[in-house]
């Protein structure tokens, strides 16, 4: 399988909004949020957290630099769900599927439940191929990515070179913390966690922080996401229950939180719409409007001036 084989899967971005949209199309009532820190307070605010997604790009000095499994061990007898990444561009969706496949009592739409049933008992490679062969899943995934807009008789001139992030899922399965990496042969078992207090996320914090420290400074670009329950329904129910009570502080706090969540969803919805849209028609329409308004010439002159100034600065810096 060559790197160029995308099998019809387009590369997506990895914003929380994109992941949450994917979850919606799978019929799963969770959301994905950015995690700005692994500190207890940050994680506490997002509980219950079902899985952590670590996404990263790193720039190795040599192929031998690749860190192994740290203090964990490959578990070839893993009883849960694990699929290999067989198509590079599907990496984001594959990570989500690997996480969801291990969540007990998952609520999901019928297509996804069927897919999980269908792949039950398969080895990781076959499982990965089955997942990436699901047309409906590929369509849901592709619906999240930008359209290709400029072509030369079939050749997409606007395509950027495919620089994918790699995704690794951390989640609890049967009392142990597991790392699911579609590019590794098996899931990695990082040992048991203490169910009290913070629970499994405490162990995840240690493992992830250790991992980050094994990379040479500056060689790693990464981000953390949390797969969690959608908090809005719960907050609304609580707010309803408090109506007429004297708990003003709590009610006001809840209303703020609900309002913040709604703003965030609105922003995600805007970004998703914008991301999926082919803007070239708008570019043309705007230029035409500028011309009709008699403003195109001055916009051009302006742009030429800005360019000259830019070049002047560049020359000044080089001399």
């Amino acid at each position: 399988m060559s790197d160029e084989d995308s099998s019809g899967w387009q590369l997506t971005e990895s914003d929380p909004g994109v992941f949450t949209e994917l979850l919606k199309s799978l019929g799963v009532p969770y959301i994905v949020d950015d995690l700005y820190s692994l500190e207890p307070e940050s994680l506490e605010a997002l509980q219950p957290v079902h899985a952590l997604i670590f996404l990263f790009k790193w720039f190795p000095e040599s192929p031998d630099d690749e860190p192994g499994v740290g203090a964990g061990h490959y578990d070839s007898d893993f009883p849960g769900f694990f699929a290999h990444q067989t198509v590079n561009n599907a990496c984001a969706t594959l990570a989500v599927v690997n996480a969801l496949g291990n969540i007990a009592s998952l609520h999901a739409g019928p297509q996804f439940m069927d897919l999980l049933n269908f792949t039950s008992g398969m080895d990781p490679q076959t499982c990965g191929m089955a997942i990436t062969s699901a047309d409906w899943l590929r369509e849901a995934h592709n619906a999240l990515s930008p359209p290709s807009s400029i072509s030369l008789d079939g050749l997409d001139l606007s395509k950027k070179s495919e620089e994918a992030y790699h995704f690794v899922v951390y989640l609890p399965v049967l009392g142990s913390l597991y790392e699911l990496d579609g590019l590794k042969p098996y899931p990695v078992r990082h040992g048991e966690y203490d169910g009290s207090g913070e629970g499994w996320v405490k162990k995840a914090r240690e493992v992830i922080e250790n991992r980050i420290h094994t990379y040479p400074t500056g060689a790693l670009e990464f981000s953390l996401l949390a797969l969690r329950d959608d908090p809005i329904p719960g907050m609304r129910r609580r707010l309803d229950a408090l109506q007429g009570s004297a708990e003003d502080a709590e009610m006001s706090d809840l209303m703020n939180k609900i309002s913040n969540e709604n703003s965030k969803r609105e922003r995600w919805a805007f970004e998703n719409s914008s991301r999926r849209h082919n803007h070239i028609g708008l570019v043309h329409a705007l230029l035409l409007a500028l011309a009709k308004a008699g403003k195109l010439d001055s916009a051009k002159a302006d742009a030429q001036r800005v360019m000259r100034e830019r070049l002047e600065r560049q020359r000044a810096m080089q001399s």
């Binding site: 971005e13 930008p146 030369l152 008789d153 050749l155 992030y165 009709k292 403003k295």
Partner: protein, 307 residues
């Protein structure tokens, strides 16, 4: 800690339709492969990539990183069919054969000359000649629709040793080239501009505020979920337009169009916008064609003073 993936790497310098041809083992014969493809020259982080891409699958069949001055694409004179070329290297004996696939031969020399200029010095900008785009005869050739099959006879190939100079370069073209070369310290001429600056946030806001009657012509081009409803106020409409034109995907589309226009390869694309093929010659030509389109559609304000 959300990661922004909208930055592009890899700038397409030029592209034109071409197929590959392969030497038949043990002979000097070269067989053309019928696969529809294109030669694409890109600049990725300062390195020039000479790629051959399959136009039906989008896959990259060949990706060569070339050092300035090392390679050039030469016509194979022994090819009686006349459109076979070989990419040859100073630094090695390797050879890659190609055949031009555009239905019209009008721009063959122009594509190849610009390719070779860029391979010799990546800082040179491509020069597209208007005479190659405006056909002199009445019957216009459909330059992009027709498919072309490879020559069925096999061409014997004897490596050429001569260094052909581009024939028929007019004094005006030479002067133009000299003028551009002498004025550049980087890679642009005096009239250079970026589409992203023409469509700056400020310019657009001024347009929205001064010409509300033009706003409705923009709505159909917005993402469908964001199109203002019929009872939206002008303020709300301006807000939506502003938000959209300030968004990374929009900015990216403008930058992509800017780059793509510099490749000279967007003939079919600009026609789909209702513009003449000459609009594909560069950003300046594109804007001139749009100005003309605006005049034809009426509603152009021929005012001397600006708002």
């Amino acid at each position: 800690m959300s990661v922004d993936l909208t930055s592009t790497s890899g700038r397409t310098i030029l592209a034109f339709k071409a197929g590959r041809a392969f030497r038949r083992a043990g002979t000097n014969f070269v067989d053309a492969s019928p696969t529809k493809g294109a030669i694409v020259l890109t600049n990725e982080e300062g390195l020039i990539h000479f790629m051959w891409k399959d136009r039906t699958t989008g896959e990259v069949g060949e990706d060569l990183i070339l050092f300035p001055g090392d390679a050039k694409l030469e016509k194979v004179p022994q090819s009686s069919w006349g459109r076979t070329y070989v990419l040859k290297f100073e630094s090695s004996d390797q050879k890659h054969f190609f055949w031009l696939q555009d239905a019209s031969t009008r721009r063959d020399e122009e594509f190849v000359t610009n390719l070779n200029r860029t391979l010799a010095d990546p800082n040179i900008i491509a020069i597209w000649d208007a005479r190659n785009v405006y056909p002199t005869s009445e019957a216009s050739t459909s330059a992009t629709g027709a498919s072309i099959s490879p020559p069925s006879t096999v061409q014997p190939v004897i490596p050429a040793t001569s260094n052909p100079t581009p024939a028929g370069t007019t004094p005006e073209q030479l002067a133009q080239l000299r003028g551009i070369v002498s004025s550049m310290t980087g890679f642009t001429s005096e009239d250079e501009l970026w589409l992203t600056d023409v469509l700056s946030s400020q310019n657009l806001l001024q347009l929205f505020q001064s010409h509300p009657e033009l706003l409705s012509s923009l709505f159909p081009h917005l993402p469908p979920e964001l199109i203002p409803s019929s009872d939206a106020t002008p303020q709300q409409a301006v807000e939506i337009l502003q938000r959209t034109t300030n968004s990374p995907p929009f900015r990216l589309a403008v930058a992509q169009l800017d780059r793509a226009l510099r490749t000279g390869a967007l003939g079919e694309f600009v026609r789909s916008l209702g513009l003449p093929e000459s609009a594909a010659m560069g950003v300046g030509a594109f804007l001139a064609a749009i100005a003309e389109q605006a005049r034809q559609e009426g509603g152009t304000e021929e005012r001397m003073e600006e708002d």
